[in-house]
Symmetry: C2
Subunit: 566 residues, 2 copies
């Protein structure tokens, strides 16, 4: 028997958040229940442990250049936490640690901070944790807040980055490194935890190198954050936030699928956040089984044109019309047009022309376009043509990011279907509905997986700093197993790096992990997509549950990748 | 201690739905868990009951005209189910009942059907339930499916209308009524349940009148459906689907709020489904506490102009900028511009001009506009001007519904802020992000409230038909109490009706229940909105939970209205 519906009158506005920080906030019942959600820790962190070093490391590419860029850190071994049977007495050193959130939000950031704090409380009592405000700028300007138990409490297991907020500044110039040093000295920092994506972790490593080069005691540990899922490798199997964001998007996609099947008259074009890599789109496809999914990396690898992509969609839509289905769901990654070489070419030509030529009404300017670009330009819907010509960024460049790809594709599909209708090869009805799912997913309440994963990442970062490690990224593994069996350690950030030549200089970069076409998630998707295209195999994951069925499920991408490695 | 994260490898794609209907479907773990969710019934339905008639009813307006339009039904008493101590022996009559879904989807429709079916199984064994396919057209064309236990099972507690699908046709002409009669005769129908909104329930009552006028045995009972929440009255305190849809939108709004607070640089303009009434927007505001909420009914009552609405937004944005907040969340009802008298006037003039005049490039055509409309037209952003001029429906009319009000308002706010910046009264930064939440909310898994409410509505419809009632709408009340204590009955559809003059004739209509400015929900909102505007009182309701905290909470609108009645 299910419980009765209780009208307790206090739905949503439940109780004022305890003390500071989210001061004016009231919490919903679900938010409140999450604050006290007890987080499991990997068993290695719950008992006495010691740190064991692995073999010397290299780099992801160009190790000689990386060695030159990181003379003090290159070759560092990875660190692994193992049970310490001897129950060795720990140092009673009190630490002063700083933490910073860098870049876009991802669900779970607050739990990384909670994890660091709890480590210090549990194993380095009397330590101090400073939160730098507003991202790396907070380090440079020495804008910080001391994070106390009371301060952190209302943010436990909550979404967002608002405990200390984030920012997109980088510490790059000698002057900026100097500012960071001054802050480290002023606050007498033993360590700094940088929570961020590929760029921010590269920056963390540069800071670590700089501090060590100057014989400063401040050590730096990174944590892998990004909903895009493109910061990962064997040792760091996932970036946090991806799990929650995908499940939020998949909930919406699943709802829209049932709507499509119920009305029978709409094609929903859903653009999903993720400008660089298409992991989010791929994961959402695996969770929901849409009729059509475009993966940017495949488009790039096969050098597909916009016409190819449109034709693929139109082919499926025509086949479905023959089967009596005039509806469907189509997933598109946010960065799709960045993956299409001909579009890049057109944009480059337009930027050049717009900078130097007068755009005449008669369209004579178009003669400056190469044949291929002219053909593409004419293929684009009029509204998009106008947008390309009219909307420029402050540098006068075409604003590619502002193009609503889902709407563009709807128009192109309409035009192509009309052509086929004239030819007699299409007799269906087509109505497109566009969606963009993005901001909704970056600040949701973290899933149980992200909540536990982030807590372990933070706790591990504390342990690594306490052990004197620097230039590592917090690494929690064996994620397909129950939390108790997760492995914990740190991976040399230099081992993830390659170099890129920018302005004639080598710059270190952590390469974005793109969707691999021979990776397990894409292979599973591509083995099923033809069936999904024609049949309606929709799955509706429903809202994220914190208790009960599916509340402890892990996303497909991670499971398939771990499975393939095993 | 929380449970471990179990990687069971079967997240999402769990098991094939049992038998027919959703044949090719696989279900997510959450969908699967919901199928067997046990539904509580009001205690009056769990024990022997009898039906007690109330006093004779009247109409919502123009009772004389309603009496003329419904000579056989007007004045019918309401029916109330009460416990029958005598445990009287029931008729063992086997019934043949039809059911139809009419209009847009709303979460819970499948549970109404389950409720009817279970009533027949429990109390009129051997009865047959037919589901008419694709809405009222299914009745007219006699397209139906016999609903068996196996057929219904996979749809229990599931979102969508896809069990039998829906449609927007109406049974209006004498010919169409004839077709409905033929179907009723052919299937030997004892009763028909019409699940729909205000129009569909009006139609249900016309059918009931028609069947009775022809001495047919087929009785008709309506059920109140619409996410918009605008079909309600004292006896029918809520339409189903509203609760779920609002909670889905509020989840997304809450996420976007935390995003806004974390980045500190965006104003999110969220347009919410609901073209006629602003109940959804109001409920979402009560759940999440946005900085600005526009309620269409207030705009209409105060005869506000688009400039007034823009100024209100800009005033709040400027005040917030002074406090250091360059971010916020703004809710807008889908139907906003339909509420603004001057916009209606402009559209009417444009339709007239576009039908008869040539639109010259120089803009001479604009001289045909009245002064007020010209001023408004010039106030509109250029993109909207172009949209108004270029996009017409098949009748040549301006497509108001296609205007993305949230984007229009962003542009107008930008322009006005720029003006204030020039004047020196605004020094902040403004970046708008637009959202439309609509289709995501119509087919979600019903909340526990909607699941139970729908099941009771359906079960009650079965009881009313079994008792020989017709022309009533299934009415379940006392909804703030636990399900066991809910009241169950039926309300005369004619008592909800008024007449409207259309094409020189009186037409019966159930008046849409609009947001009442002296109603409890609006009064609560208006007493708090100034605080919400300036302080950040955001609440993030989080995803709908089916188990644990908040899983049995009821929406604010319903609770406040019930409270005010009590």
């Amino acid at each position: 028997m299910s419980p009765s519906l209780v009208a307790n009158g206090d739905f949503a506005a439940v109780k004022t958040a305890p003390v500071s920080g989210r001061l004016a906030s009231v919490y919903s019942e679900v938010q409140t229940s999450r604050i006290d959600h007890a987080l499991p820790l990997p068993s290695v962190l719950r008992n006495p442990f010691k740190i064991v070093d692995g073999p010397a490391s290299s780099a992801a590419g160009n190790p000689d250049e990386i060695a030159k860029l990181f003379p003090n850190l290159f070759g560092q071994p990875s660190a692994l936490l193992v049970p310490d049977g001897a129950d060795s007495v720990r140092s009673d050193q009190k630490l002063k640690i700083g933490v910073v959130l860098s870049g876009g939000q991802a669900p779970g950031g607050h739990n990384v901070i909670s994890g660091i704090f709890d480590y210090l409380q549990d194993l380095a009592k009397g330590s101090i944790l400073y939160g730098f405000r507003g991202g790396p700028a907070g380090i440079m300007k020495c804008k910080y807040v001391e994070l106390t138990a009371d301060y952190i409490y209302p943010y436990r297991n909550q979404g967002g980055f608002d405990m200390i907020c984030s920012g997109r500044d980088k510490i790059e110039t000698p002057e900026q490194f100097k500012q960071a040093e001054e802050t480290a000295v002023k606050l007498d920092l033993d360590g700094l935890v940088v929570i961020g994506g590929d760029d921010s972790n590269t920056n963390a490593c540069l800071l670590a190198e700089n501090f060590r080069g100057k014989n400063m005691k401040t050590r730096v540990i990174g944590c892998p954050k990004t909903i895009d899922g493109d910061l990962k490798c064997k040792e760091v199997p996932a970036s946090f936030g991806f799990d929650t964001a995908c499940k939020i998007y998949a909930e919406m996609i699943g709802n829209v699928m049932i709507d499509a099947r119920s009305t029978g008259k709409y094609y929903h074009f859903v653009r999903l956040m993720g400008r660089a890599a298409s992991h989010i789109t791929l994961e959402c496809a695996l969770q929901t089984h849409p009729n059509i999914t475009i993966i940017g990396e495949e488009v790039a690898a096969k050098k597909l044109t916009l016409k190819n992509v449109t034709d693929y969609m139109v082919d499926v839509i025509c086949k479905r019309a023959e089967l009596g289905y005039n509806y469907g769901v189509i997933l598109i990654p946010e960065g799709l047009i960045d993956f299409i070489p001909e579009v890049q070419q057109l944009i480059a030509e337009l930027n050049e022309i717009l900078a130097h030529e007068i755009v005449d009404e008669e369209g004579l300017w178009k003669k400056k376009l190469t044949e291929q670009s002219l053909k593409l330009f004419d293929f684009l819907p009029q509204a998009i043509q106008e947008q390309l010509m009219l909307e420029r960024d402050p540098h006068g460049n075409v604003q590619v990011a502002k193009i609503e790809t889902e709407k563009m594709l709807i128009q192109m599909v309409e035009t192509e279907l009309e052509k086929r209708r004239q030819e007699g090869s299409y007799k269906g009805n087509f109505k497109g509905q566009s969606h963009f799912f993005g901001y909704e997913g970056r600040c949701g309440l973290p899933t149980n997986f992200d909540a536990s994963y982030c807590y372990a990442l933070g706790y591990a970062a504390g342990a690594l700093l306490h052990s004197g490690k620097t230039g590592l990224i917090s690494s929690v593994g064996n994620l397909a197993a129950p939390v108790e069996q997760w492995t914990v350690g740190g991976t040399a950030l230099t081992s993830l790096m390659d170099v890129e030549r920018r302005h004639g200089k080598f710059k270190p970069v952590i390469k974005k992990a793109m969707v691999e076409l021979d990776g397990a998630p894409f292979k599973k998707f591509s083995s099923l997509r033809e069936e999904w295209a024609i049949k309606n195999c929709y799955i509706s994951p429903g809202p994220i549950q914190f208790v009960g069925p599916a509340s402890n499920a892990v996303n497909h991408t991670l499971l398939l990748e771990l499975d393939a490695q095993a």
